[in-house]
């Protein structure tokens, strides 16, 4: 046997040992991964007109988490007297707002001072509530539960009731790996469900994807919507995607703001009277409008922007420079026709978003 052959055989032997070791290592990893059989990852389907959604690393979407979040969203167990749920003031057919109410009433029949916000496309928002006071979707969940004029429940009570419930401990176990229910998992589950509430299949979207053509009036309305000298709505309600710039702005509702809005959160006087720019999807069914629901109809909203801007110190500079009466009666009709193309019937009737 030549030296060369001996060396080759030895090398093969070492490679064999190496492979065995490598396999042994890999096999263990497989065992580990099957031992930790966690919840099933949930695949979000994002419509073509919307960007990728960034899911927080500490709350990955799972099938079990979304299902649990949906059950919780519609369960009055989270209110002080177990009489109302999140779904009571956030109704699907109204874009998850509270029907035609200006102000919702909580369990003690006390009305608030802000209009129930739509729950849709929240996975693309940066902060929550009209003033952005909640810095992530999970943290937002706690506000309405504890607010004395809303669900008026303490978190500690809610958690105790959930832990004593015949089903919830098991459902939390499936979703989060622990049957002991804690606040963070409660709010994570509801946020997961809310991130599935995506609207992106309106007639406008189909038009944008060349699947249908809007009517002449609707096209005219879209042009007024984007025209710098007419509506210029798109300046803040950017055309397409979520129809919002996610900023806080004063839109000239009052000379003096009773509700400080964003200023209440930042404590910066230049933010007083500023509120979140809402997205406009399903806007035809989410009235009344503005943070305080003062306008019942879209006609009143457009009339405000056309003729009613008040000189607030923090008035948005773009609104301040736009002349009154710049839109004709025809423009107003057209713009409203365009806004109706943002109604997404599939979203408003999707059984996946309904009470289980």
């Amino acid at each position: 046997m030549s030296i060369q052959v001996t060396f080759t055989l030895r090398l093969l032997g070492f490679i064999g040992v190496f492979l065995m070791l490598f396999q042994g290592c890999a096999k263990d990893e497989q065992i580990v991964s099957t031992q930790i059989s966690g919840p099933t990852p949930y695949t979000l389907v994002i419509p073509p007109g919307l960007p990728a959604m960034v899911i927080p690393a500490n709350n990955p979407m799972t099938v079990e988490g979304v299902a649990l979040g949906k059950k919780l969203f519609f369960d009055p167990i989270l209110s002080g007297d177990n009489s109302i749920s999140c779904g009571t003031c956030h109704l699907q057919q109204f874009g998850f707002t509270d029907s035609l109410r200006q102000f919702s009433t909580g369990i003690d029949q006390i009305a608030g001072n802000r209009n129930s916000m739509p729950i849709m496309n929240l996975g693309w928002e940066r902060n929550f509530f009209w003033d952005g006071g909640a810095s992530n979707l999970e943290s937002q969940v706690i506000g309405p539960i504890e607010n004395p004029i809303e669900m008026h429940e303490t978190l500690s009570n809610a958690i105790a009731e959930l832990n004593a419930h015949p089903e919830y401990p098991q459902l939390f176990e499936k979703a989060f790996g622990s049957s002991t229910i804690i606040t963070s998992n409660l709010i994570k589950a509801i946020a997961q469900f809310e991130r599935t509430l995506i609207s992106g299949n309106s007639r406008y979207d189909k038009h944008a994807q060349h699947a249908l053509s809007l009517t002449d009036q609707e096209i005219r309305g879209m042009n007024v919507f984007t025209d710098f000298d007419k509506g210029d709505c798109a300046h803040c309600h950017v055309l397409g995607s979520t129809f919002t710039d996610h900023e806080f702005r004063n839109n000239g509702l009052d000379v003096v703001s009773e509700d400080l809005g964003r200023g209440r959160i930042t404590l910066n006087p230049s933010d007083n009277g500023k509120f979140k720019t809402p997205g406009l999807r399903n806007i035809a069914v989410t009235g009344p409008y503005m943070h305080d629901g003062r306008f019942a109809t879209l006609e009143q909203v457009i009339e405000h922007y056309n003729n009613g801007i008040q000189p607030h110190p923090n008035l948005d500079p773009r609104l301040a420079e736009m002349p009154a009466g710049r839109m004709s009666a025809q423009d107003v009709e057209d713009i409203i026709a365009f806004l109706h193309t943002l109604t997404d019937t599939e979203f408003l009737t999707n059984p996946a978003f309904q009470k289980p």
């Binding site: 030296i3 001996t6 060396f7 030895r10 090398l11 070492f14 040992v17 190496f18 070791l21 490598f22 042994g24 290592c25 263990d28 990893e29 500490n58 709350n59 509530f129 006071g133 909640a134 810095s135 992530n136 999970e138 943290s139 706690i142 506000g143 539960i145 504890e146 607010n147 303490t154 978190l155 500690s156 809610a158 958690i159 804690i182 606040t183 963070s184 709010i187 994570k188 209440r264 959160i265 404590l267």
Partner: protein, 252 residues
């Protein structure tokens, strides 16, 4: 031959040992311990007296009588400082609740053996954890120490009564917090030695200096303060400064 196979042998050895390490990730305690544990006990006092809840028997520096019905606060991110200026950080949040004795004792472990001359910590919650309510354990949002409409933790809560300048009992409510209010506390340690052992450490919060030094907190002026408006800034800043001189540490 030996010269040629040796590298392969070491390659296999390396792979084997790296594989082994992954198999037993939790098998890492050393046979000889190189760190100690601090068993911390918190005492809430007013001057020389241990704090009693629900009794009108204390006076602040402005001579206002007051009582405490509820006292809860966060202390966090302990840092053990050595003589040479180096330090060890025990990342930790602790919610102290005067009405819950089990909250007054906690342990910080894995403090490297050595001699320590200082202890630094914070009254409050750092900004990384202060803007989300998805935290758990001491920071669980159901502890009654959050603002739910303006995401953040209440660092310190004192609810009770005071006697106003006309002799009438009035409600006293302090909810202290926000990033602006995070108060650093640094205390000297008299050469505390950790040598693979457990050391008792007593941490004291004294409400007398908290409401008196260096800033007098006059309850006739300040008695209902909840941190979340600009009008609260003078109170917030005065309290923050007082917190730095209201804690003390002793090694029994």
């Amino acid at each position: 031959m030996f010269r040629k196979t040796l590298p392969v042998f070491f390659l296999v050895l390396t792979l084997w040992s790296s594989c082994k390490k992954e198999e037993t990730p939790d098998h890492n305690h050393d046979p000889i311990s190189t760190s100690g544990t601090a068993a911390i006990h918190v005492e809430n006092v007013v001057g020389t007296e241990a704090l009693q809840l629900g009794v009108m028997q204390y006076k602040n520096a402005s001579a206002d009588s007051f009582q405490v019905d509820l006292l809860k606060y966060y202390i966090s991110n302990f840092e053990w400082i050595r003589d040479d200026g180096t330090s060890y950080k025990s990342l930790n949040y602790q919610l102290i609740n005067a009405s819950n004795v089990s909250s007054l004792d906690f342990q910080l472990d894995q403090i490297p053996n050595g001699t320590y001359t200082g202890l630094k910590f914070y009254l409050g919650v750092d900004s990384l954890s202060n803007h989300t309510l998805t935290n758990s354990a001491a920071l669980d949002a159901s502890s009654g120490m959050i603002w739910n409409w303006n995401t953040g933790y209440i660092f310190f809560k004192h609810e009770g009564k005071y006697v106003d300048s006309t002799g009438v009992h009035q409600p006293l409510l302090f909810h202290f917090g926000t990033d602006r209010a995070l108060a650093e506390v640094t205390l000297p340690l008299n050469n505390l030695v950790f040598n693979s052992n457990s050391r008792n450490v007593v941490l004291k919060l004294d409400l007398a200096p908290l409401y008196g030094s260096p800033n007098a907190i006059d309850f006739n002026i300040w008695h209902n303060n909840q941190s979340l408006t600009t009008q609260e800034f003078p109170w917030l800043d005065a309290m923050k400064q007082n917190f730095s001189s209201s804690f003390s540490v002793s090694i029994p």
